[in-house]
Symmetry: C5
Subunit: 321 residues, 5 copies
């Protein structure tokens, strides 16, 4: 689905144009065209391939979708794949943004994601002195927007983990604790998959030899790179913390098991000792003097009670009850 | 066993030729020969060695088989070993494809695998403009086909893992859960062995200095490389997830053990308390007034019942029963 | 909040100057200006951006705060972010020091931290022969001060760990032991976050090609680098030790559980055996000769006592009691 | 002990020579001498040092023995240390082969190993066209022989592991399972020590700048390197699998423990319930009607039997018995 | 404390000299001075700084002590910090040797260690042809001595581990086993701290560009490097083995726990079954025929004995007792 198709000159919007006019604008010096598609059909992609003369392998990747984040140069064409991540209910949903960047055009195709990029277009149009940098600046603006949207996702996972962390030491509902830890780790893996490869290739967009469209924008791409490093470090250390939490959880459960065993043993003793006393006076010996006493029975009950009081006191002191 | 032996010129099939004519065709400019063998005998290999003038160390490797994936240059000759993987019942079966690529010939020898490559030949013959690139393009087509066949294998292992994952939190049949996790990890190791070294050497077939037959095909080999990176990342993160699942499983079993202990203790209490009451009234004291009451017996049974009802209620509330 | 604003010439303090005079002093040869801000407002930053002609991306980072430690060159400007760490009660509090270094100025902005750097300024002013090196030397002095303050924090975490370590083998209060281990590891992660990236970039301030303001100060920055390596190695090996301690703790708890089980079993036997003896003499057989004996009852009690003495002796010897 | 001492010319054996004639042959062009020693004494080494003019540090290493695999160049002299491994009963025994390679001589000294290299000498003498390559080819032949002998050792360890693996899931004799896993891992560490450093230095014997005696033999040393990579990968993945097996073993033991607990509890219930019934009818109430019934006793026994039958059925169904 | 102060010329000792004469000897060509201090005071260091014109940052480090092993070049001056390790009782004690090496002097300062280096001086003086290499050779001799002293320390830790290993599978005193494993690992960490950084910087003393005083001594420093690699590999694989042993220990304890549970259950059954039989004959039914039999009582006791014999036999066969 075509979202919009706009021509720019000297950093300012010229006009919304029809896609059949693209070729005309591509010919004008100082002018570039930015087309945005959403869940593009095969026909739309074929059309764009013809308009912009895109490399067939890149278009093939965009058609198949489900690519890992990557960057590929085909002559002048820079083909960038970026993953988007949305929190949908309890799950993380992965989408994809494929960006074709040429000297005088940008074609962005977003797939499987509800997140739009109209805000990015609006923001860039408000800064014509920056947009004058051309298609490379649009690439920066799109990548910057995608990376900025990773932070709230990571925050969501972090606060999910923090609530599990509190549960951890309270030892309530251990089954749900471990299940949550498992799924937090899964989500971190998902985040890592989106940000790790992107970190790697963004590092090739500044310093040293860079693709031509990125020339002169090094400080901008370094900024994106910097955000990605921050993301990746947070993800890595959170993964490590989750691993520790899983191990700590196992330890706490072993402690818990021992405590349950102790408590059970204490209660068992509180039943077994009186039962033993009763069984003594259930013996059939001829002369057990106590049996003849008139206060024998209450005395026996009293002995049971006293022994239990004593045991109770001891168990309490030892922390078993 | 010779599968076929075909000469090509300018990207088009010339003819199925006899293997004794290979030399003639090798001499014709713009012409190359593609021979496919299956589970080749020593004689066939010796014959081919002579026809194509192959390096003895490479032929030695092909004769022994069971090589790890690798690439070796012997002057003009490029010797490539690729592993194939098939799902046979519950197991993964490893096969091997040895490819000798020269300036004007390709010799492919597949071993220990049912998977044929006739489809690859057919597909390449349908695209003469690409096949015109010569023997390097055939190498690409074979590697691409092998890599594409890894994906369904990985998918099979992934869905095997997913069914174990569901079992994991249901805590049913823990013995089979852990056994399955172990074998999933084994299969991932097998996959890693096939794809890891291949990833490594494919990276040397594009960019910078490449073997001569791969010249001008960089974008194609980069595409194969890209698929292999995707495979390897999926394998690595699945391995990591399996490790976590093994640890989570241990935790769940410890939780389970504690719960079993608690339930047993609850049932034990439901037997021990009435037994204690009975033993009290089994004492032989002269004057235990209750023993004389006419409703003494039902009262005692009632006391047993009531105490058990109370315990039952408490245990239920505490989640022990 | 402006803390102070001083001009220096040839390593000696010229005067406290008004921030509106900065431009005048920047123009004087051999003169540099050092401004210190604290929790700067947007207006103050904008003012300074104008005075020193700072790059907007760097100022943006300082405004947002919560940056990871990093170094960035914007032409002549060197932008350095350093994390500070304070022990506040049981927690580690992270602050930030942003340093803008130009050929003839230093602007330091500290945020979220109580620690001041007046001492650093005083110390540098006492060594005019070193301060003559200019703004790069001020950068060194600030970084050196920050790194020196990491050591007591690490010492605090180390002694916290050592007290946990003693607790570890005494096996008292395992729940608090594991909780402490978890939080020690968290603090080490925090320390690592502050020192790891700083180590990395400090390595780029000496040897080979360095930013211009650091020229001729290689030995000083190498000294800072060296301290950071020492910190990082201590942190890494302490993390590893904490991991081992967590695993050792689990093992000790399992040992503990077995010992509790044994002790319980021993006490259980001391109750069960006399109960069994009592139940034998509670049988209603017509002719149990012992029942008729006049010393039957004391004999039975004696049998109970003797069997328990024997069991006690055996359990003691086996180390179960 | 001198094993043999032979002079070669143009790839063909000239003669078994006396060690005092070595110097004469070293002077003849196109001629090289190959001396093999076994568990050499200090005198023999000193003699050889003089004959071949070996570097004192290299001879020192050979005298001390117990070196890690390494390669060292001393001017023209290449000093290579290789470890050999033999399966002796249940253990792996480590031996050592020290090889001094000069332009026109090879001195090999084997220590602490029963494995001889006469077969290598015989094989090389059968291929004069290869032996013509001189001392470097002899080095290759010796290294190739050593590496080939690692494979059966690894196979032995692998089949040892496979038999443990079968034991693993049968859960019989867990103590011997874990002990075997531990020793398998030890053996893999031993193998890794022998092959890891060798892999590393073999990579420096082909491609790029190589020691002079290895010139023109790149494809041969690459072949050795390739075998070493295969060995190392197998060792690494087997180590990883052993680690997983250790963890799986712990999980299986926890499962086992829970099952034992359940079975014990079931048997306990089968005793406790009848005991409870008996204790009810052991109460001394005046009017317990059942006590007067003539079928009271068999009825009570029947109640015990029935309750146990019911419990048995329930436990069976739940899989506890 | 000054240990000695000697001037050398052409590899031979000239004379023990007074420290005030150092300057005179430094001026003589072909002459160098070697001063050894022990736990130097601030004054001694200041004196030496002046005599040899040492860099203040290096002297600062020597004054503070507790440095990590490192090497630093200050112009011509090479400043080397080496850690020494002594076994003191059950502990490892870390000392430090600071070496300042100039073109024509060596100043060594040892701190916190009982180990002297007089033997090194004696040995070097016995080999004038080597000592002729000057101050670099003295540096080599000192480093070589320090590294040689690491081996017996590692051997001590290894044999400590081996005695724990034997204890491991005997399962006696698990608490001391795990405690020993923990402390063995601590000691390995200490060793690693001393040898790891030293390995790293020794690699920069030969091959490629080396500090001037090390020129022509490459083979000697490579020898030290080689020993350090051997040490580091042994430490690493021992650490890995200790980790495995910790995990194996946990597994063995779980096995042990299960066995204890089984044994307890068996003994429990041997008490519970006779108690049950006794309780049956403690029932008060009117007509329990056995109660009237004259051999009823011995028969009941016999039944108890027989059932226990049977249980004993079954438990023995199942390996529970």
């Amino acid at each position: 689905m075509l979202i919009n198709c706009v021509a720019y000159e000297e950093g300012r919007k010229l006009a919304d144009i029809d896609k059949r006019d693209i070729r005309n604008y591509l010919g004008r010096p100082g002018c570039f065209v930015w087309v945005a598609l959403r869940d593009a059909t095969e026909e739309e992609l074929a059309e764009m391939q013809e308009e912009f003369d895109l490399h067939p392998l890149a278009v093939e990747d965009a058609r198949h979708g489900h690519q890992r984040p990557k960057i590929e140069e085909y002559g002048d064409l820079l083909f960038v794949v970026v993953n988007t991540i949305e929190v949908v209910g309890e799950e993380l949903k992965i989408g994809e943004l494929d960006i074709f960047v040429g000297r005088n055009y940008v074609l962005s195709v977003r797939q499987h994601t509800e997140q739009g990029f109209l805000g990015v277009r609006a923001r860039t149009e408000r800064e014509p002195e920056l947009l004058r940098n051309g298609s490379g600046y649009v690439l920066y603006a799109l990548m910057d927007a995608v990376v900025d949207r990773f932070f709230p996702v990571l925050d969501a996972v972090e606060s999910e983990f923090e609530s599990v962390e509190q549960q951890l030491f309270s030892a309530k509902d251990p089954r749900s604790t471990i299940e949550s830890l498992y799924y937090v780790k899964q989500k971190l893996t998902t985040l890592k998959h989106a940000t790790g490869p992107m970190l790697e290739y963004t590092g090739r967009l500044f310093g040293g030899r860079v693709p031509q469209v990125c020339n002169g924008l090094g400080e901008y791409f370094r900024d994106v790179y910097d955000h990605l490093i921050r993301l990746n470090q947070s993800i890595d250390s959170l993964r490590d913390t989750v691993n520790t939490a899983i191990q700590v959880n196992l330890t706490l459960l072993t402690i818990n098991e021992t405590e349950v065993t102790k408590r059970l043993a204490a209660w068992g003793a509180l039943i077994a000792v009186p039962t033993f006393i009763a069984s003594v006076y259930g013996m059939n010996f001829k002369n057990i003097p106590e049996l003849e006493w008139s206060f024998g029975y209450p005395m026996a009950l009293g002995a049971m009670g006293l022994s239990n009081l004593y045991l109770w006191y001891r168990f309490r002191k030892a922390g078993w009850l």
